[in-house]
């Protein structure tokens, strides 16, 4: 029997104005991070609906990270402040339901922080990998 090597699947929602550009900068500087990280571009971190996060977990993602502009630097002035409240509440709820808290994260990464982006992704991927597969939120019918 062949044992399939476990590779975590990570969905990263990145704000178009900062972290998405930060990810581009990481690319420009050839700073590597695991290919398990897949980025979805959103206009602002406040566009991220909890539904998207749960959907990702449902479909088998092992970790979800939301990256936005640093508080105070939102392109839309206040979007990331709403993100901060919504995600604080949501993550606390997931924790309350017994979901490993390490699987969810919010990071503020500016367009200039390519190195921080890569480092964050490396560190997050490692954390998620050490937790193993997401079993508590996945939808069995959606499993590969």
């Amino acid at each position: 029997m062949q044992v399939k090597e476990y590779k975590p699947l990570i969905v990263a929602f990145c704000c178009n104005w900062c972290s998405y550009a930060g990810a581009d900068l990481a690319g420009n500087n050839r700073l590597s991070y695991p290919a398990d990280v897949k980025i979805i571009r959103v206009p602002c971190s406040c566009r991220v609906n909890p539904m998207f996060i749960l959907r990702a977990f449902q479909r088998g993602a092992d970790g979800v990270i939301i990256c936005g502009c640093h508080p105070g630097d939102c392109h839309y002035t206040s979007g990331n402040y709403y993100t901060r409240r919504r995600m604080a509440a949501l993550f606390s709820m997931l924790d309350f339901l017994g979901i490993e808290k390490e699987r969810t994260r919010v990071e503020w990464v500016s367009a200039a922080e390519g190195a921080k982006f890569a480092a964050t992704m490396n560190e997050f991927a490692e954390t998620v990998a050490s937790l193993g597969e997401n079993k508590r939120l996945e939808d069995l019918r959606c499993k590969r």
Binding site: Y20, V42, R47, A56, Y82
Partner: protein, 664 residues
């Protein structure tokens, strides 16, 4: 079903070095909707773009996915390509397989695998794309400047200079603002009036500029390019167009004892008055609370004396409605009230004054004709104590002072101290400071001159209390550097009061849906990169309404705001970003959640009639997004519980499709 074309770019070896581009093109062929898939060395080159154009025509494509570099790089390029081929530019999606794939991953297998997944996500998204058209709105080529101080004056002049009509609304009877009250200006010591009044005259004479003095903004509707503004012109009981400003009425008015606001109440003015000699417009105004004719119907002297027949006791407030393309806020500042600072005895002694009062006392047109005297007895003061940071940098006493540094006090105090020593070398001048902050061209040099050349005694420490005793003011203070408590018998104490935004700013911000910070300063759209724009489109900020500023800074910000306004008014039409929010009225609850999170005030509510399944009709309140104001952040879409609010170009279904494609 869409007909999707996929174009995988090699980017030379930038992508092809770590991604098997042919395999990616091949793999994506099997995705739903994909009818054409190819790869090419440089998709952004002319030849590459031709491949895209030809494929669109040949395969009747309704959507395309370009697997290439970051959309931040070439999304605009490929949108133009699509448009050139007759495809809606918003039917283009980019899969970022360079910056976020080939450049960060080392081996071919990993790179190719990830590129395919990113491509699939883009295909899944484009399948749900809909053609979008940017909204267009006309621009009313007229600007409104609220506030007629130096900030408003400069902004108005610069806008008018570019050929656009400008209206200034000023609540006082004259423009000029705080600068008109000042004596000299730091660090060059030009007289304020000498540099300001010519500008005021320019404003009065400029054909493009209308001045609504003694007026206030009453109501603001509309949005960028199309503001509808109601301006209340308060009754001044003098016909503005007839009054010649001769001043005969002012001289003859019997009701002489009213505190003169322009001199901060240090002397009196009649009930009918012109604030100062160089006022613009130079027109008399009757104070209805002081005029005997208006109060009791007895007198009427000014009407009899006025040769031009300008007096009109029946004048009423007038509402003027006008359309504007842009609004500049220049509401300025005021010194905070000293009422609550008992320790400085401001209320107990006339000889404890604020710095602005000191300006009037030293101003040649002021209550003492420029002679520095003690307000209580008119005697020459020999010992003067200046106290800095009164009410500034105040953390503990929110009800008394302000947490921020008021920025201008260090410099004007140095100016006051220096000028006093210059004109009256017999005076002893103390300045009590916590820090002396002098960032600015020639600012520190100026302060050093006050100390070194003019012998002003700067003492690190604070004044603890001021006690009036006889005709002296006992000043008890600490000298931190020599670790002593000082007791000074002063003749005059001058308080460098903190400054705060004008009280009219808060209601104005509500009218404009412009955001403010907790101190009531207007917030800028970006603290570094968009400092003169408010987050609300079409609203610009000039001067101290945005934060404490000195004159040079105010003037440069005023010019910057003007150039932003000119850039806006120069356009015939505003094209918006089509990726904006829109509400599905059938599902909208009208709950206001979206409105509360919208940073731009783009959401309003309308009552709409709906046909119910049982053939009755029901009127419901539903959200409506103003496409000219919405910037497309999407905060509302998450606040909306029913999912009625969605973002075009980043719809819920599109993002979920991407998630699904990635997680499949």
């Amino acid at each position: 079903m869409q007909r999707v074309g996929v174009f995988v770019c090699w980017c030379g070896s930038n992508i092809a070095g770590t991604v098997d581009v042919a395999a990616v093109a091949e793999a994506l062929k099997n995705e739903p909707g994909v009818v054409f898939s190819t790869d090419y060395q440089y998709m952004c080159s002319q030849a590459g773009q031709d491949i895209i154009k030809n494929a669109i025509a040949e395969h009747n494509l309704t959507g395309i996915v370009v697997c290439s570099c970051s959309p931040r790089m070439h999304e605009a390029t490929f949108r133009k390509t699509a448009a050139a081929a007759g495809l809606n530019p918003y039917m283009v999606e980019i899969a970022n397989i360079r910056e976020q794939c080939s450049w960060v991953h080392k081996d071919m297998l990993t790179g190719t695998e990830k590129a395919i997944i990113l491509g699939k996500a883009a295909v899944a998204k484009v399948n749900l794309n809909t053609p979008l058209t940017p909204g267009e709105s006309p621009v009313t080529k007229r600007a409104l400047v609220i506030g007629g101080g130096i900030a408003g004056i400069q902004t108005a002049l610069d806008i008018a200079d570019a050929g656009f009509p400008v209206d200034i609304v000023e609540k006082q009877p004259t423009i000029g603002g705080k600068m008109a009250q000042l004596d000299k200006t730091f660090p060059t010591l030009d007289c304020a009036a000498c540099i300001l009044t010519p500008k005021m005259v320019d404003v009065a004479q400029n054909e493009k500029i209308r001045i609504f003095s003694y007026s206030e903004v009453e109501e603001v509707g509309g949005f960028v390019g199309n503001f509808d503004v109601k301006i209340k012109k308060k009754a001044r009981f003098v016909k503005e167009d007839i009054c010649t400003g001769c001043g005969a009425c002012v001289e003859k008015c019997p009701m002489k004892k009213n505190p003169n606001e322009f001199n901060l109440g240090m002397d009196n003015r009649p009930a009918i008055y012109i604030p100062f000699a160089q006022a613009v417009p130079k027109v008399a105004t009757i104070d209805p609370n002081a005029c005997n004719m208006l109060k009791n119907g007895k007198c009427g002297l000014c009407a009899r004396i006025c040769a031009a027949g300008a007096i009109d006791y029946t004048q009423k407030d007038e509402i003027i409605e006008e359309k504007y393309g842009a609004i500049v806020v220049a509401t300025g500042f005021n010194p905070i009230s000293m009422e609550k600072f008992d320790e400085f005895a401001y209320n107990q002694s006339k000889d404890v004054i604020t710095s602005l009062e000191f300006e009037r006392l030293t101003n040649a047109a002021g209550p003492s004709a420029g002679k520095l005297i003690r307000p209580s007895d008119g005697k020459h003061p020999h010992t003067i104590v200046f106290v800095q940071c009164v009410g500034s940098r105040c953390d503990a006493c929110a009800e008394k002072g302000k947490e921020y540094c008021s920025k201008i006090c260090c410099m004007y105090t140095a100016k006051h101290a220096m000028l006093t020593r210059d004109k009256y070398p017999d005076t002893e001048v103390y300045v009590f400071y916590i820090d002396v902050r002098t960032p600015g061209k020639n600012f520190d040099e100026f302060y050093r001159r006050a100390v070194e050349e003019f012998g002003v005694k700067y003492i690190k420490g604070m004044v603890g209390k001021v006690t009036p005793e006889g005709d002296k003011l006992k000043v008890q203070a600490s000298d931190l550097l020599s670790n002593k408590q000082l007791h000074i018998d002063a003749d005059l104490v001058v308080l460098a009061a903190a400054i705060e935004p004008d009280k009219s700013a808060r209601p104005l911000a509500t009218m404009l849906t412009a955001s403010m910070d907790t101190n009531d300063f207007f917030t800028e759209a970006h603290p570094k990169l968009r400092p003169v724009e408010s987050p609300t489109a079409g609203v610009f900020l000039s001067g101290a309404c945005q934060g404490p500023k000195d004159i040079p800074e105010t003037v440069s910000q005023a010019g910057a705001a003007a150039s932003k306004v000119i850039g806006l008014l120069a356009k015939d039409k505003l094209t918006g970003n089509p990726c904006i929010a829109s509400s599905n009225e059938l599902m909208c609850n009208g709950c206001s959640s979206c409105e509360r999170v919208c940073p731009y005030g783009a959401i309003t509510y309308v009552d709409k009639e709906f046909r119910m399944p049982d053939r009755t009709t029901k009127i419901r309140r539903v959200a409506s997004v103003n496409p000219a104001v919405c910037q497309g952040c999407g905060a509302c879409t998450v606040a909306c519980p029913s999912g009625a609010m969605d973002l075009k170009g980043f719809a819920n279904s599109q993002i979920i499709a991407e998630v699904d494609a990635i997680c499949k």
